[in-house]
Symmetry: C2
Subunit: 342 residues, 2 copies
DNA sequence: CTGTTAGCGCCTTCAG
DNA sequence: CTGAAGGCGCTAACAG
């Protein structure tokens, strides 16, 4: 079929030298005479030589590939995170295999098997909504394949992660609502088996407590992360016997649904109900006009996580040392019409 | 580091048979006795053997990897297309390398080099906005690496592609506006070097012609594909000396910007200005309430394109035969309040 | 500085 | 049905 690929042996034969010298030259080893090196490079160029990574990697028993597991690639946050991951990985000469767990634990497990079979050099993971046990990560540990969690991490024994300060961000968000004179503040929470949503919930509670606002069970609505949850949550709120005037939304997609529904109901944001929610580059503009957002850069998180993983792969980070990197978020007010009085 | 990997030789040694027999058994060759095969499989399982794809692929000079080039992964359409691609590819045992051209021709060229260096078995491409010459695809042709365009194709000599019927979709869209009694219909067009936007423009013109609506140069506003283009385009329309009452938007992101701006201006959709635009699974709900959409499934296009590519790779499709597969779109009306009278 | 040798792990003739 | 032998293309000792 295609046996016309140029190999180092072809170059060696033509130049009447040994293939190992050619190999060294092409790897820019200092132990080759400048003159021969030039000659080799010139000939390689002329013949259109391209290194066969398969062979090279086999020899070095390294794939220069990292695996990425995300719940769903079409989620705004994750696609921007992947953009960041690709960027950093490519620069370092690594390829990326992207896999979607589709929020299923079972799929997550089988993906790890696939990645192991593909001998990836490292793995980046943002766990699925269903993930409550972490046995499938043992396989990676056993085989000494470094992995780093990003965003949706888990409290597994020790492992590195790149996250935002969910507690802090939530606290600030709720504080912001309080400063806007909200007193009945609802929380649209995410799945409580995920650490990030647990912490956002904690931040919510802590802020209420600081300002002596009573915590009401019925104002916390936990749901999966669908857009329709937003509108359903709003319906539940409106059915309550008192008027909610603030919402802290733990997830961007839910926030969109929430805003859509409020608009449909002709409820003014933020005059009647103020909202604070998470967002990222790719989605912010859609919800920008409507709410104050905690800006969370997927690209940056992807970049940072990949850098950390690559460090681990090349053993720059000593084995057994596990870092937690916290990527900063910032609160962006989108509306000028703050409710300074009520 | 990790020399504890189990190989076929380990299995062969333990069982005191030859490694080639083990290889055959693991590949389910019919030329191995059932008894030995069972024995081998059992032992392989016991030892946790996993085939080393690097070695296997090197031997077969095949990577079981396909390259994907898209303008930008965080674009809704492309991330859903990638989801479809991954799905089909994984099922067939292929991995996927995803690359973003970031709308740059230069990057597109260098990505192809990277993919060539990685010896991918095939490539799926949606070209960048800047792509006007197609020389970089010659490299793929020369090396006999099949490639398939999807969505943003180009009119290169012959090659397979998976697309929607842009002309037809545009025609239907504009017809729909006309049925809604729109008479001054604007077209927010995309870059005219891309075939898809060229064809959408043609469809727009053809529909006007059919209904004897005069074509006005100034109602066609061509822009890049940013959200801000939407609002800028609207501003231009509003400055015109007559009232536009319909917009056919050739791109989903621009459509969002358009709707945002119209809403900000308190212009009612569709009563004052009706809009028809493209959309896909992941974005439709955001714009759903506002406009009629031409639904274009990224996932399906991804699936179909990958199937076609895999066929080409395995030579099921005879070489030199180039197919064009047209994925169906459908018009979805989102608003009940049609302007039946004006 | 360069050549020799020996694999990485797997697959595929070719014999038997 | 199984074994022996060779090699995919590259790299890493080890000599010289």
């Amino acid at each position: 079929m295609d046996n016309n690929e140029v190999t180092i042996h072809d170059i060696a034969n033509i130049l009447e030298i040994d293939s190992s010298t050619v190999s060294r030259a092409l790897n820019n080893s200092p132990r080759v005479a400048k003159k021969t090196k030039d000659k080799i490079l010139a000939k390689a160029n002329e013949l259109g030589y391209q290194r066969n990574h398969l062979a090279s990697n086999l020899r070095k028993s390294k794939t220069f590939t990292i695996g990425v597991i995300v719940p769903r690639i079409s989620r705004h946050f994750f696609s921007s995170a992947i953009a960041g991951i690709e960027e950093t990985a490519f620069k370092a000469g690594y390829n990326v295999i992207i896999c979607q767990s589709l929020e299923s634990l079972e799929r997550e497990q089988s993906i790890i098997d696939t990645l192991l079979a593909n001998r990836v050099d490292g793995v980046l993971v943002s766990i699925s909504m269903e993930t409550i046990n972490y046995n499938h990560f043992k396989g990676l540990q056993q085989r000494n394949i470094p992995f780093v969690f990003f965003d949706r991490h888990c409290n597994i024994s020790e492992n590195s992660k790149v996250v935002i300060d969910d507690f802090e961000a939530a606290f600030t968000a709720v504080e912001h609502l309080i400063e806007q004179k909200s007193t009945e503040i609802a929380h649209f929470a995410g799945p409580q088996n995920l650490e990030i949503y647990k912490n956002r919930f904690k931040g919510y509670k802590a802020a209420l407590e600081k300002y002596n606002i009573p915590f009401r069970e019925e104002l916390v609505i936990t749901s999966t992360l669908m857009e329709k949850d937003g509108s359903e949550n709003v319906k539940k709120l409106l059915a309550l016997p008192y008027k909610v005037d603030g919402i802290f939304c733990a997830n961007d997609v839910v926030a969109i649904g929430t805003i859509q529904h409020l608009k449909k109901m002709n409820i003014k944001i933020p005059e009647e109900i103020a909202i604070v929610g998470f967002s990222n580059e790719s989605i912010s503009s859609v919800i920008e006009p409507a709410l104050t957002t905690i800006n969370q850069s997927g690209t940056e998180i992807g970049n940072v996580a990949t850098k950390l993983l690559l460090d681990k792969i090349s053993n720059k980070t000593k084995k057994g040392i596990h870092e937690t990197i916290i990527v900063k978020t910032n609160l962006i007010e989108r509306t000028s019409s703050l409710r300074t009085k009520k």
